[in-house]
Amino acid sequence: MATLNLIQALNKGLHEEMERNGDVVLLGEDVGRRGGVFGTTEGLQAKFGRERVMDTPLSECGIVGTAIGMALYGLRPIAEIQFLDFIYPAFDQIVSELAKMRYRSGGQYTCPVVVRAPSGGGIAGGHYHSQSSEAYFAHTPGLQVVIPSTPHDAKGLLASAVRGEDPVIFLEPKILYRAVKGEVPDGDYTVPIGPSRIVREGKDVTVFSWGAMVRVCETAADEAAKEGIDCHIVDLRTLVPVDVAGIEEGAKRTGRVVVVQEAPRTCGYGAEVSALVSERAIEYLESPVVRVAGFDTPFPYTLEHVYMPDAHRVLRAIRKAAGF
C-alpha cells in the first residue's frame, strides 16, 4: 500500500492502464510534453510516445469527435478536457454522438471513450475553472457519470472506466488533487461503476454527497457529533447508473436526509436524489429532504468561498434535518 494523493493515484492508474492494453491512447490539450496543467498525465508521453499520448489542437470538439472515431475502430481513448468548463464545444459530440452511438446503431457499434475532466471550485478560478456541471451529463441517457472523492476510488474507478464497454464522464474534483491523500493498493484492482460507498455509519441524519463535498460533509459530521447528532454519510461516487438501492437504504436508515452538491441548486443532481428519496422512502421521512448547493448564480471569483458550501453550511442543514 502506498499513500498517494489524487493526482498521483490517477497518474499511476493511467500508467497501468496504458501498460495493460496497447489500445489505450490518451489525447487532450497539453497532456503530453506539459504532462497536463495539473500534472495528472506527467511522464506518460515520455513512456508511451507521441502516438499514444497526443497533444491536440485547441478543440474539444475535435478531441471528443476523434476519440469517438478511435473507439469505434477499436482503440480505448481517454480524452482529457483541460477543465470541465471547457467541455461545451464538445457537448454535441458528447450528448448526440457518444451517448447514443450504441443505442442508435442497435448495438452494432460501441463507444468506450473515457472523458476525463477536472471539476469543481476552490482554486480561485472564477466562472470558467470552477463549475460542477455533472447534472448535464447525468440527464443524458447513454453516459455513465463517475466522480471519485478518494485516491483509492479514483484509481479503481478509472480502471473500470477504461476497461468498460461504455462511455464514461470521469470527473476529478480538482480541489482534492493534492489536498486529499489516501492508501492505494499496489496491485491491480477495480472499483465497480455503480455502487455508492458508505463513508461513515450513523443513525440520526443521512447525508448524500459526491466529489469534493464528501470531505466537507465529513467535517460537518464531526461538528454535528459534538452536538450529539450522529451522521450517516454516503458518497455516491457514481451518479449514473445511480445506486438506487443505496439511496433508499440510506434514507430509510435515519429518516432524515441532507443532500450536498457544489453545483447550482436548480435542477442539479441533488434534486434527483431528493426526488428518489421522496419516491421510495417518504413514509420513513421525519423531516424535509434538505438540499445544500451552490447558489443559482454563475460561479463568482472573489466570493468563491461564500458561494461554495462549506462545513458550516452543511452543519446548518444537518441541524435543520435533525431538529425538524
Binding site: 491512447v25 502516438e51 499514444r52 497526443m54 491536440t56 489542437p57 478543440s59 470538439c61 475535435g62 471528443v64 469527435g65 476523434t66 476519440a67 469517438i68 472515431g69 478511435m70 473507439a71 469505434l72 475502430y73 477499436g74 482503440l75 481513448p77 464545444p89 454535441d92 459530440q93 448526440s96 454522438e97 447514443k100 452511438m101 450504441r102 443505442y103 442508435r104 446503431s105 442497435g106 448495438g107 452494432q108 457499434y109 460501441t110 441517457p141 447513454g142 455513465q144 468498460g164 464497454e165 461504455d166 455503480g194 447508473p241 445511480v242 438506487v244 438501492a245
Partner: protein
C-alpha cells in the same frame, strides 16, 4: 514534426485523373451503373412509399448517384465509410442487401438498428458503414479519429466521410479537417456539393465558392470533381485513397452535383428555388450520362438496359414486400443497448413499462400493435 506542405493550389479532377494511368475499366463502370440505377429506383420507390403512408420519412438522393456510388466503389472493403443520411447510393454500392437497406425505413424487426432511428439514419457495421445521426457534420471529426486509429494500427486502409455543402459550416468540419492535417490522417473528406442546404444556396453558405480550396486552410489538398461524372469521381477517389494509404495524408474531394429532389419528404423545394435551375441540372443527370459512356464503349444497349431495369425493379418490389411484412420491434427492446448491460435503475423502468403494458392490454398506435 515535418509535414509535406502543398502550395495551396487546388487541383482539378482532370489533372488528378491524368496522374493515374487509366480510368475505371468496363466492368467497374457497369457495376457503378447498376448500383446507380438501383439507387434511383429505390429513390423513386421510397418517395412513393412515404406518400402512401407506408413509411414515415424519406430522404431522396436523386441526381447525386454518381457522386455517391463511384466514391464508394473506389474504396476497398476494409476501408471505412462514414456516410450521411442522403448516401443511399454509397451504401448500396457497398453491397448492403436490399432488405437490410429497406428494413431501416420501417424500423421493424429486420432493422439492424432495431427501429431506433428515423429512416435514412442507418448503420451497417459489417460493411464498415458507421451509424448516421441527424446533427450535421458530427461524423467528420469521428472519421478523422478512425483514420488516426488506422494509422496507429499500421493498417493500409483509409477512412472516407461524406457530407454536404452545408456541413462545411459545421464545427466538426473545422475540427476534423484541422486534426486530419495535423496528424496526417488517411482520411478522405467527400463533400457532396449539391448546391443546397435545405433552402440555403451554397452561395450563401460561404463566401468561398471553391469549396475544395477550403482544404488549404488545413494544409492539405482539395480536389474539385465533376460529381455527375462517375468515372471522374472514381478516379479522383482512387488517387486520393492511394496517396492516403502511402502516408500522404488527407484530401478534400468536392463532388459538384445537384439535389434534384426536395430536401426530404417533409420539404417542398418549389418554395425556395427556381424550376429552371432544377431543369438545367436534370439535363446533367449522371445516370443517362454513364449509360451513354457504356453505350459508346459498345458495352451496353437499350435492350440490356431495359432488362436490367426490369430485374432491379422486381428485386426492389420483392424486397419491399418481404420487409414490410416483418414483425414490429418489441417494446421491451427499448431498454437494450443504452449500455452494454441494462443497469438496475433501467431494468426497473423496463419492468414498470411491461407492467403497464400488461395492464393496458397492449400499447398500439395507428402504426400497428407493438408486441412485447
Amino acid at each position: 514534426m515535418a509535414r509535406p506542405r502543398t502550395n495551396g493550389a487546388t487541383r482539378t479532377a482532370k489533372r488528378e485523373a491524368s496522374s493515374v494511368q487509366r480510368g475505371p475499366d468496363g466492368a467497374t463502370l457497369l457495376r457503378m451503373y447498376e448500383a446507380m440505377l438501383l439507387t434511383r429506383l429505390i429513390d423513386e420507390r421510397g418517395i412513393k412509399l412515404q406518400r402512401q403512408g407506408r413509411i414515415r420519412f424519406f430522404v431522396p438522393c436523386m441526381g447525386q448517384e454518381a457522386a455517391q456510388v463511384a466514391y464508394a466503389m473506389a474504396l476497398q472493403d476494409d476501408d471505412w465509410i462514414y456516410p450521411s443520411y442522403r448516401d443511399t447510393g454509397t451504401i448500396l454500392a457497398r453491397g448492403v442487401p436490399l432488405t437490410e437497406y429497406l428494413a431501416q425505413l420501417w424500423g421493424n424487426g429486420l432493422d439492424l438498428s432495431k427501429g431506433r432511428q428515423m429512416p435514412n439514419h442507418f448503420a451497417f457495421a459489417d460493411r464498415r458503414l458507421v451509424s448516421i445521426s441527424s446533427p450535421i457534420g458530427t461524423q467528420i471529426s469521428q472519421a478523422v479519429g478512425t483514420a488516426m486509429a488506422m494509422k496507429r494500427k499500421g493498417a493500409k486502409t483509409v477512412c472516407a466521410v461524406s457530407f454536404g455543402d452545408g456541413a462545411t459550416s459545421s464545427n466538426d468540419f473545422h475540427a476534423g479537417m484541422n486534426f486530419a492535417g495535423v496528424y496526417q490522417a488517411p482520411c478522405l473528406f467527400v463533400c457532396q456539393n449539391n448546391h443546397w442546404a435545405i433552402s440555403l444556396p451554397v452561395s450563401e453558405q460561404t463566401a468561398q465558392s471553391d469549396l475544395a480550396s477550403k482544404a488549404d486552410a488545413y494544409g492539405f489538398e482539395g480536389v474539385k470533381v465533376d460529381g455527375n461524372d462517375a468515372a471522374a469521381v472514381y478516379q479522383a477517389t482512387l488517387a486520393a485513397a492511394h496517396r492516403a494509404r502511402e502516408g500522404g495524408g488527407p484530401t478534400l474531394l468536392e463532388m459538384v452535383t445537384y439535389r434534384i429532389g426536395a430536401h426530404s419528404s417533409s420539404d417542398d423545394a418549389t418554395k425556395y428555388r427556381d424550376a429552371e435551375e432544377v431543369e438545367d441540372w436534370k439535363s446533367k443527370d449522371p445516370i443517362p450520362r454513364l449509360c451513354a459512356v457504356l453505350e459508346e464503349r459498345g458495352a451496353w444497349d437499350a435492350k440490356r438496359d431495359a432488362a436490367l431495369r426490369e430485374r432491379l425493379t422486381k428485386a426492389v418490389a420483392d424486397a419491399v414486400d418481404a420487409v414490410e411484412k416483418a414483425p414490429q420491434i418489441g417494446v421491451a427492446s427499448m431498454f437494450d443497448d443504452v449500455y452494454g448491460r441494462v443497469p438496475p435503475f433501467l431494468e426497473e423502468q423496463r419492468e414498470s413499462l411491461l407492467d403497464e403494458v400488461k395492464e393496458r392490454g397492449g400499447i398500439g398506435t395507428g402504426h400497428g400493435e407493438f408486441p412485447l
